[in-house]
């Protein structure tokens, strides 16, 4: 009964094996198909060729990955901090919440395809429009996650705190905020996957550098191998960010990993 082991200790790698196997076999089939059919690399380059191009163009790719990382992380940091600050305001002022929420819902229905060129038009080819677009795409899922999380607080815990004489502020800090953390991390993992895509799309619409620009130029010069190289990098980037949030969640929500004894 003393200190039971955490639920998923060490199991991560072993449970990942089926996923790794299926990805590897997909690449093998792809490679074999290209070799056997003799299809032109201008139509469908083999994985080995994509890899080769990645190595050959590593300077170019690296140079263009940095701005994408920068836009993703800055935009994401912006949206998470604004969503967090706003969620607190909304939690303390339900009337403001009812007034503003429809606006946030509308902000989600705006098609990125239409909004991105406008934002680039207004803010130029620098980093600013990318940050704003990433923030726009990820803001609402984060805000909803937090607001729902506050609402999930156990009413019995709130009644207990009130009986202790807790103010609304103390109630928020000791009960509502911790109750929202699992929701917060669920929102974080969903929106981090949107974030990279939004950054690349914003670059694609207009930028000086970035993975979106690599894709645009490679497409225009009929280089599907380079397009795919950029795609590989963006996938890896998303996976790394996803893993980072999962790790952060494991640390912050340690109490959820303890074994149940009852």
């Amino acid at each position: 009964m003393q200190h039971p082991p955490p639920r998923h200790q060490g199991g991560g790698l072993i449970r990942g094996i089926p996923a790794i196997l299926s990805v590897v076999s997909a690449f093998v089939i792809w490679e074999l198909y290209v070799r056997v059919s003799g299809i032109s690399p201008l139509m469908l380059p083999a994985p080995s060729r994509v890899l080769e191009q990645m190595v050959q163009n590593r300077a170019l790719l690296w140079h263009n990955t940095l701005p994408t990382i920068q836009a993703t992380l800055s935009g994401f940091a912006l949206s998470v901090s604004v969503a967090f600050a706003l969620s607190i305001v909304l939690d303390f002022m339900p009337r403001v919440r009812r007034a503003l929420f429809p606006i946030f819902v509308v902000s989600q229905t705006l098609p990125l395809v239409a909004i991105a060129p406008l934002v680039v038009l207004w803010f130029g080819f620098d980093l600013t429009p990318k940050i704003l677009l990433v923030a726009l795409v990820t803001f609402f899922p984060m805000l909803v996650a937090l607001v729902d999380g506050y609402a999930s607080t156990d009413p019995e815990i709130e009644a207990l705190l009130r009986s202790m004489g807790a103010s609304r502020r103390v109630l928020f800090r000791t009960a509502r905020l911790p109750s929202a953390m699992p929701y917060f991390f669920a929102g974080l993992r969903i929106s981090i996957t949107y974030a990279v895509v939004a950054a690349i799309f914003a670059e694609y619409v207009g930028a000086r550098a970035g993975l979106g620009i690599v894709i645009l130029n490679a497409k225009n010069s009929f280089r599907p191998d380079l397009v795919l190289a950029a795609v590989v990098i963006s996938s890896v980037l998303t996976l790394v960010l996803f893993a980072a949030t999962a790790l952060l969640q494991r640390i912050v929500l340690r109490w959820r990993d303890v074994g149940e004894v009852r």
């Binding site: 039971p4 019995e156 815990i157 009644a159 202790m164 004489g165 911790p178 109490w255 959820r256 074994g259």
Partner: protein
Amino acid sequence: MTALAMQGVGITLGGTVVLDDITLHVAEGEFVSILGPSGAGKSTIFRLLTGALRHDRGMVTAGGRPLDQGEPGFAFMPQRDALMPWRRILDNLTLGLEVQGMARREARARVLPLLSAFGLAGFERHYPAQLSGGMRQRAALLRTLVQGRPVQLLDEPFGALDALTRTQMQAWFEDRWREARWTTLLVTHDVREAVALSDRIYVLSRRPARVIAEIPVPAPRPRLGRAPGPDAHALEAQLVDILLTQTGDQT
């Protein structure tokens, strides 16, 4: 002195008269139980005393003053244990003291010496999910009592436990109570528990709740841990008879 008094208290919730006429009092150092059928409005009385609801009719005084003037001085144990799953047991236990503004270090110093009497020694760093039901219940009790409030409001503290654990916990609690003599108002629908622990018992009707009987329990303490006398059996039978008139067509 009277620690708590309710005089003709009534409340209507969503068009339903939940409490009709509640008149009761608890003297300092006294152990009083409210016994009533399920859904009678027992928890509602506590929600009213802890400020979660306001009564429409009647008068509530705590320590001689009306309820809404100043600190009522109640420590409340909700029907479910309401331990915070994200706080370790020690941090759950200090919650009330911290809300009162006590520094965490001082609050811990207050709680730590009490752990062994509550069977929680060695578990202070555990999370609630790692404790058995009985331990969680003891933790919730300690969290209530350590606040040092004049009156303890306990809503079915042993209701969620299996029969064996419940009997053990009641005997254990009687021992603790005989040492400390907390002024206590206990809500229960367990007749044996009310007879074993109380100085006086109020019986509620079914909803809309009124006090339909007030019964003193003169038997000497300790009562648990030995065979109950014939008086206790007679009293239990009497209470069951009263309660049976109150079951039936309630919704």
